[in-house]
């Protein structure tokens, strides 16, 4: 179905909003509840490649639209990741592997936007690389933990949406 990616995106939106609300409640700290990277993994198991790419790019844009990150960083990274995942579905053949994929995607994407935003905020001009690394590690570690916690419910919703659109089931372990 041509619009499957959009339906999955709509199904994913509440998850992204919940992440925003969690960020809101954590506003006293520096932590951003980031799940955009993890959100593309489950759809990548079942959507066609072009659909997965579109889906990933939209998820990326949704995160970037309201934040001072150089525009295009996250969409293109997530689109690249989705090409990789859709062409290596064997890497997502069972639940532990999918979970690993979610954590890796989320941390990778988190590193990308954090560094890009830091570059734009002139973090390197001030020359305090040690603090930058510490901040990055905290943020990335948090992103990994969030991916572990949030991925299963998010994937269940996404899978349910994909079932409704009649997409073929994902490749299971051989």
């Amino acid at each position: 179905m041509v619009w499957a990616w959009f339906i999955v995106l709509l199904a994913t939106l509440p998850g992204l909003w919940v992440a925003d609300l969690l960020t809101d409640s954590l506003a006293g700290t520096n932590l951003v509840v980031f799940i955009s990277g993890a959100a593309i993994v489950a759809p990548c198991r079942r959507l066609k490649r072009w659909q997965a790419v579109l889906f990933a790019a939209c998820v990326g844009f949704l995160f970037e639209a309201r934040r001072p990150i150089p525009l295009g960083t996250l969409p293109f990274l997530l689109a690249g990741l989705s090409i990789f995942l859709t062409s290596n579905r064997i890497l997502l053949r069972n639940t532990p592997l999918v979970l690993r994929g979610a954590v890796l995607c989320n941390t990778l994407a988190c590193t990308a936007w954090f560094t890009a935003a830091g570059l734009r905020a002139g973090a390197f001009a001030q020359g305090d690389l040690g603090d930058f690394t510490l901040q990055l590690l905290i943020q990335v570690g948090f992103a990994a933990a969030i991916a572990l916690l949030v991925f299963v419910p998010l994937a269940l919703i996404q899978d349910a949406a994909m079932d409704r659109t009649g997409l073929p089931p994902a490749l299971e372990s051989p």
Binding site: G122, G127, L129
Partner: protein
């Protein structure tokens, strides 16, 4: 599959084997060479190579320190440092924009079919990009720009705009040549963005705030703050305080850079400041402080990349001057009221000393200048303006003048000491005195009749002095003048606080002071000494030349009953009141009393009676001497003295240079300045200890 025996893989003939071994050997030697070489570099030469790396990839940036403050004797700031906000452009961050502009220019040139001059276009691109940013800065800070309400965009620079609105191509080229790694300054002083507008401080603050509050934060344009010299009272005591100028010699902190190969490291420095005149110059070593440094890594194209280490600059120490801000202010204000018939200021000088310590309370010279206008750089226009008025000269210590009748005090003392005349001797003084074939006139055509010492001082009788002077003879008269130090340079350093300048203020009159005698006249080709010269000398005319500070010292010495006073511009609460070379005057108590009473009568009923201060009896001697200005005769107005009369605390001297068409008289012209200084001093002296009466000398 059949295994191939190793022997089969090798050639069998001995020659072929030898060849093979030779190749192996060559390989082994080659490998050995590489490995030994690497080991050598890694293990043994590592230190050298690292040092080489450091010197090639790092640089030291030296930052000038802020200069020490200068206070008056009561702790009021006379010279301070003001925050200066400047706007700088980061050329490294602008590089992509410049490159885009460059490509666009090349394209445009090719479309036009003109030959492309790449270097010129590169310069043009850089200039245009920077100019674009400068336009935006002006757009934000300029309050008077029209049509802002309609949302007009930043306008490009116009030919009739002030030079500050334009990026100077020559400056930019110089910057790229010499300090490419540092940001390029677009606006030097945000508070005073255009030379044509002398803004009030609050307007300056407004400009700064407009930029900070409105200009977009993240971008190649940054705001930097540094310190500039500021003279909060404007031209007050400008000749004493002096001004500063740019220097490339920064006080370095070599010790803390010792573990770096400082000599080989590339050094970059901001322009520093050093004293160019006044206290700023003579006490530069105290005021200048210590530079700070930053060690940066640099990019291959020579820009600064990362800060590795740094050390802050240290501010210079403070200098406490002996000046009293309020008295100085009173002196300058009074001097500024003396004008000629065209309303132009008459040049002049005023000095006030503490009688006991010799500390200078006021040292004013007119015309003067505003050191604030020299703090950044000396413009030729302003230099010429001040020069045209003769404003660079500190007349109080550099001006050489004939002391006129104020010298009669010394003639009288010489007469008393050598028994030519006594305090109660009465001399018959007619309308003139004949020496040789020439009549020397009294300034009152009627003459003064019977004149004793007291009356002579009160009315400033010339004939009395001619008689005494001629009977004394020039050698004894000159000796007395020298005894009072009229040929001795003043303001030499007494403390070992500073080395470098032999004087507390730059270039006071020293070798040019003249106490004339026969040898002097002969040496200068004026012929043999005559009695007429002696008569002239006895009333402070002729060849004698001295400074207002010297005459103030004579007054202070008289007040203490000594011969010398060592003046100082530096405040030192521990001064013991001893003066170099001072000895008692050497006249009897009665003679001294008569002398002082004569000076008091000068104020109560004599030549200084117009500037009497009813509540403060003081002693003074006026003088009006002749000098030649542009070949014509003009008059100098003098007044020296001390106050209070019974228990002297301060001594003073005021000099005003009359012009050809002005009637200049000691008491009438110079007197009011002395009166204003004394009133201010008295008001402060009456105030309870530790309290400062309200001051009318405000920051500008």
């Amino acid at each position: 599959m059949r295994e191939t025996p190793a022997a089969e893989a090798l050639p069998s003939s001995p020659i072929a084997k030898a060849r093979l071994y030779l190749v192996f050997l060559l390989f082994a030697v080659g490998f050995g060479y590489v490995i030994v070489g690497l080991a050598l570099r890694q293990l043994i030469q590592t230190g050298d190579l690292k040092a080489q790396y450091d010197t090639q990839s790092r640089r030291v940036v030296l930052r000038p320190p802020s200069r020490g403050l200068i206070y008056d004797r009561n702790g009021y700031v006379l010279v301070e440092n003001r925050i200066r906000w400047s706007i700088k452009a980061d050329l490294l961050a602008l590089q992509p924009e410049i490159h885009r502009k460059y490509l666009a220019l090349i394209k445009a040139e090719r479309v036009r079919g003109a030959p492309v001059e790449f270097d010129k276009l590169q310069d043009k691109a850089r200039l245009e990009v920077l100019q674009g940013w400068l336009d935006r800065v002006w757009y934000v800070i300029d309050e008077v720009q029209p049509n802002k309400r309609t949302g007009a965009r930043p306008r490009p620079v116009r030919p009739d705009d002030e030079p500050e609105r334009r990026v100077n191509a020559a400056d930019l080229r110089k910057h790229l040549r010499e300090r490419r790694a540092l940001p390029f300054v677009l606006v030097t002083d945000l508070a005073f963005p255009g030379s044509g507008r002398a803004l009030r401080p609050e307007e300056g603050q407004r400009t700064i705030a407009r930029f900070i509050d409105q200009f977009p934060v993240n971008g190649p344009i940054s705001l930097q703050s540094d310190i500039v010299r500021s003279y909060p009272h404007g031209s007050l005591a400008a000749h004493v305080l002096g001004y500063i100028k740019d220097t490339d010699e920064l006080p370095e902190k070599v010790n803390e850079l010792a573990d770096l190969p400082m000599d080989n490291l590339q050094k970059l420095q901001y322009t520093g400041k050093k004293g160019a005149s006044g206290i700023e110059q003579t006490f530069d070593a105290v005021l200048k402080g210590m530079s700070g440094w930053e060690l940066w890594t640099k990019t291959s194209s020579g820009y600064n990349k990362e800060l590795v280490a740094s050390n802050p600059a240290q501010q210079g120490s403070a200098v406490n001057l002996s000046l009293d801000r309020d008295i100085q202010c009173a002196a300058e204000r009074a001097l500024a009221q003396i004008k000629d018939s065209k309303g132009e200021l008459l040049p002049g000088a005023a000095v006030m000393l503490d009688v006991n310590t010799g500390e200078i309370l006021a040292l004013a010279s007119q015309p003067t200048f505003d050191p604030n206008r020299l703090a950044d750089r000396v413009t030729q226009v302003y230099f010429d303006e001040v020069d045209g008025k003769g404003g660079w000269m500190n007349r109080a210590i550099q001006g050489l003048y004939a002391p006129g009748s104020t010298f009669k005090v010394i003639t009288a003392i010489a007469g008393l000491r050598h028994g030519i005349v006594d305090w109660d001797d009465i001399l018959e003084c007619g309308p003139s005195f004949r020496v040789g074939a020439r009549d020397f006139p009294e300034h009152d055509p009627a003459g003064y009749g019977q004149v004793n010492l007291e009356k002579m001082l009160a009315v400033s009788c010339n004939v009395w002095n001619y008689m005494v002077g001629v009977r004394l003879g020039q050698p004894r008269l000159a000796a007395e003048a020298r005894r009072f130090g009229l040929d001795t340079p003043l303001l030499t350093h007494v403390s070992d606080l500073v080395n470098g300048s032999p004087y507390e203020l730059p270039y006071p009159a020293a070798r040019t002071l003249v106490v004339p005698d026969a040898a002097y006249k002969q040496r200068n080709g004026f012929g043999p000494w005559t009695d007429g010269d002696t008569a002239n000398s006895s009333i402070g005319q002729g060849y004698i030349l001295t400074t207002p500070l010297h005459m103030a010292c004579v007054a202070a010495s008289l007040a203490r009953g000594e011969t010398r006073t060592t003046p100082s511009i530096i405040h030192d609460p521990g001064r013991d009141g001893r003066h170099v070379g001072a000895e008692p005057i050497g006249i009897t108590e009665a003679q001294l009393t008569a002398l002082r009473s004569g000076l008091e009568r000068c104020v109560t009923e004599g030549t200084a009676r117009t500037v009497r201060i009813p509540e403060l009896p003081y002693a003074a001697k006026t003088g009006t001497s002749e000098y030649f200005k542009n070949g014509e005769k003009a008059h100098l107005a003098w007044i020296i003295g001390y106050a209070p009369a019974d228990n002297p605390a301060v001594a003073f001297c005021v000099l005003v240079e009359g012009q050809l068409d002005t009637s200049t008289w000691g008491g009438k012209t110079a007197g009011p300045v002395a009166r204003d200084m004394l009133t201010t001093w008295a008001r402060k002296a009456e105030a309870p200890a530790g309290a400062q009466p309200p001051s009318d000398c405000q920051r500008k």
